[in-house]
Symmetry: C2
Subunit: 123 residues, 2 copies
DNA sequence: TCCATAGTTCTAGGATAATAGAATTATGTG
DNA sequence: CACATAATTCTATTATCCTAGAACTATGGA
C-alpha cells in the first residue's frame, strides 16, 4: 500500500459514522450486512448511509454484492491488513523495544489462528 | 480507546502531509526530530508544518519537547498501538480464518522483540 | 542590547466535505 | 402492469478544512 491509498482509507475512517459502519462490518465478518440493516442498527438515514458506504467503497475498505432487493456490504480485510501494515511498518526503525506493546496486541489476536499447526508456524 | 478519539486520530492521519510527518516520526523513534528538520526533509513551509503538527498533537499522535531553539517532535507509540487495536479488535468476531494475514503481519514485527525470552513469552 | 534563528499564531481566501430532502433506479410480488 | 420495498443519486445549503502570507514569540550568541 502506498501513501495515497493509505490517506484515502484513513480519511474515510476518520469520520465517526463511517468508522462505526466499518467496525460493524468487521465484526459481521464475511457474511456482511444489508445496507438497510446497517441503517437500522446505527440509526442512520438511508441517503447519508449510502453516501458514506460509497466513500468507504472508493477507499477499498468495503465490497458489496446484490442479493434480491438488498445490497450486502462487507469489510475488505485485505485493505485493513495492508493499512495496519503501512502504519506499523517502520515501527522498529530505530528502537526495537517500542514494538513490544504492538506485539502483545498481535499475539492476542493469534488466539483465532485457524489451526494449531498454523499457530505454531506463526510463532 | 473509544470511537471519538479513534476518529480524531484517523482523520488526523487521513491527510497526505500529516501521514508523511507521522511515518517519519515513527521511523525516527524516541529520538524524535526537530520541526525544522521535518520541514526540510518533507519540503514543507514552516507554518503549514506547524499547523499539521498541532493537529497530530491534539490527536495524541505526537509529543514534543523544547531543546534550545528547536522543538523536538516524536511519535506517540501508545496511541498508535491503541488505534491499531481499536481497528483490528473485532476482526475475529465471526470468522477466525480472516485474521491470519494480520497474524502474519504481526509475527513479522516480532523479529524486533527485545529479548528471546520475551519473544517466547509473547508466543 | 541587537540580531539571527526556530517555530508558532493570526488571518482570509478558496476548496472540500457533510447533511438531508426529493426524485430516481432496481427488484420482487400480487 | 401496478405497487411496495431497498438503495442510490441529485441537489443545495451549511460547515469545516487547507493553505500560505504576514506578524509575533522565544531562544541563543556577539
Amino acid at each position: 500500500m502506498e501513501s495515497k491509498s493509505a490517506t484515502l482509507s484513513l480519511s474515510a475512517l476518520g469520520h465517526e459514522g463511517r468508522l462505526a459502519i466499518f467496525r460493524l462490518l468487521v465484526s459481521a465478518g464475511p457474511t456482511g450486512l444489508a445496507a438497510g440493516e446497517i441503517a437500522r442498527r446505527l440509526g442512520m438515514v438511508p441517503n447519508s448511509l449510502s453516501a458514506n458506504l460509497n466513500i468507504l467503497s472508493r477507499a477499498n475498505l468495503t465490497t458489496s454484492r446484490r442479493e434480491g432487493r438488498s445490497i450486502i456490504y462487507q469489510a475488505d480485510f485485505s485493505t485493513m491488513t495492508a493499512l495496519v501494515g503501512f502504519l506499523v511498518g517502520d515501527c522498529c526503525g530505530g528502537a526495537p523495544e517500542i514494538c513490544s506493546p504492538l506485539n502483545q496486541l498481535l499475539s492476542q489476536s493469534q488466539q483465532c489462528a485457524p489451526t494449531p499447526s498454523r499457530q505454531k508456524e506463526l510463532c
